[in-house]
Symmetry: none
């Protein structure tokens, strides 16, 4: 994802080569997430990030990330990967597709509840970052795909083991994603539900929707 060539600042550091650079990047990304969540995309300037990160110069940001757009992309990728990893870890512990489905829902809702700022930051970026032509850079489609990509295999596995009934796995994945999104909103906006209520609600729905007809 690193830009090479002309656009990059002098000496773009290879993040994989140096732990110090990686740490700096993490520090800056964390600050960017906080500012995005608190102040919104439009007010997330290098200067505000600099203040929040407690570093001396905004130059340090462009040194590590290049342009503002590059930084935003780095934040988006970083946060998405973190979420993905957290969820994948918990799903990996499941022994059956049913458990996996439950774990997946719990993990996602749990992660969202635990990282409201990160979620908000992703939202700000995906709703505001635009390319030169003015089109949204990270459209709804992209995030939809991302959220569905790991759900569909679980459903397919469940059908293979016979735990789940026959249905279109892509469509079901999309439906579950929508349900989770709806529940997510209920975590933050009235009529509010607690995390446990959300999880219970969605897992109940998912299990009923996928289980073999008796």
């Amino acid at each position: 994802m690193q830009v090479t060539g002309d656009e990059a600042p002098t000496q773009p550091p290879d993040p994989t080569r140096s732990v110090a650079a990686a740490a700096r990047r993490e520090q800056i990304i964390a600050a960017a997430v906080a500012v995005l969540a608190e102040s919104g995309y439009g007010r997330t300037t290098f200067e505000r990030i600099r203040q929040h990160a407690g570093i001396s110069s905004t130059r340090l940001i462009s040194y590590h990330f290049g342009t503002r757009d590059d930084l935003m992309e780095a934040v988006l990728i970083d946060v998405a990967l973190q979420a993905q990893r957290a969820i994948a870890t918990r799903v990996a512990e499941a022994r059956t597709p049913t458990e996996a489905l439950t774990a997946r829902i719990e993990a996602q809702l749990g992660w969202i509840a635990e990282h409201p700022a990160a979620v908000r930051a992703m939202y700000e970026i995906s709703m505001n970052a635009r390319d030169a032509a003015g089109a949204l850079r990270y459209g709804v489609e992209a995030s939809a795909e991302a959220n569905v990509a790991d759900l569909e295999p679980i459903l397919a596995a469940g059908q293979r083991t016979g735990e789940f009934r026959a249905f279109d796995t892509v469509l079901m994945a999309l439906t579950l994603k929508s349900a989770i999104d709806a529940a997510t909103v209920r975590l933050t906006r009235p009529p509010r539900l607690t995390l446990d209520e959300c999880i219970r609600e969605i897992t109940g729905l998912a299990l009923r929707a996928t289980r073999r007809d008796p």
Copy 2:
């Protein structure tokens, strides 16, 4: 030292005094709505609005609306009032609370379906406009209140006539609002529903939720 108000070089002209001024204001607001919907809040600059409106100078915008924030507020109010009026008109034709409730839902969903740009513009403003301190100027609460304000009287009226059962009218109004919001999303994002399906869904839900137990 000019003897003018605080917000503009010459105070925004009294819209009742001049039809020309009112027309200009409408023209600019319409352009602002279009730009907001197409380019997002951050890229909705005076210059872009000027182009879209086909007027000669951005000065004309600040002349009529004062600051950018003032313009955004004017857009928000204008659009909200328009929606409110359209809905109120249709609700006013209803003869019973039940009819009013149905009309209210149909009218709102209908208006949303017919004015996607306006809806998007309101969304952009409410999600991005911030005050000097950095706080969202038109929080979720504000729009919630607005959307609920005309719903609650209908419910109360239904209870008085005995058509509706006993329930907390505020809570029920909020619940219905949430349901409508959810349906709204289904108009634009998969799994998609048609306007008619949305209306049927929500009115069915509302009627069942409010009617007297048999």
Copy 3:
């Protein structure tokens, strides 16, 4: 040549509409010419121009001209037009093609000798201004064409009147241009010639090259 639309600063002033704006533009262009001649293209910054023009803010420059490239183009056009006009005026006074040819050479060499800064400024721009792709924006070809455009009609007219012999007018125009360019160099670099010497040299050459064979 005025950029319209997005790239323009707020309220690009129409230079034809206001004498004040035209005066400001002239003032800024004059300062730009001086800085270009003195400091070269790379050091011709808004700030240096601002100082030289004795104006308060660099913003005034971008207000009137837009981007730096736009300014440079404006300078180039302005200077070229000025030269063109000065030359055309003197050529217009000529009664015969022979006189016109002489006048043309005298006028161009005279203008160059009188406006060394302007000549240098044009040179700096044409040798340094590049487009986004990195290619020279105002190639040698462009200036060659410009310098030849008014020469060729004179030659053609002389052939019609019978004062000049038969030759390819385009080729002859190019040749004369080359001779003038060479003479120009001799005005500034050793072995140096005076303006009068240059004029005598080139007009002598031109007249001999074009006159009817006896």
Copy 4:
């Protein structure tokens, strides 16, 4: 507090000590020449040179050459020496001053025709490099002197042997230099001449100008 010289963090390594360092320097100079010729002085940044040279970091450039100005000077000197050497070698083969004069002209024009990028690079540097005060660092005078320095001895020798007539050798050298410069332009810009034509032209001129009157 490092005990180093003024210009670089660690003093530019002694080129005689290490062949590796010399090779690096050559590599970087070659890249710089290419970038100068292609992109012009203003766009010849460390980053672009780095890309062109295929090295990892711009730091390597400043390590070997110090500042940007130092690099440019190194390029200028390197290219000039190369040209000088090529020309001197061919002149050394001549047995008489007349042969030497011919060889000198042929060699210079030949070198120019064979190394357009190097010629262009020298030109870019000499026309753009400036000192802190803003004055051209390598003025026209400098290059004139350089080009004349080896011409004058040839002429003087010819006078001593009696092959050449009496004339002011410095003035004649300058004149010949001007003629060569003019021919150089004719290699690249219309009305164009081939290399052979140029050589014939200039050598013809030179021999006629210097030979004893019969």
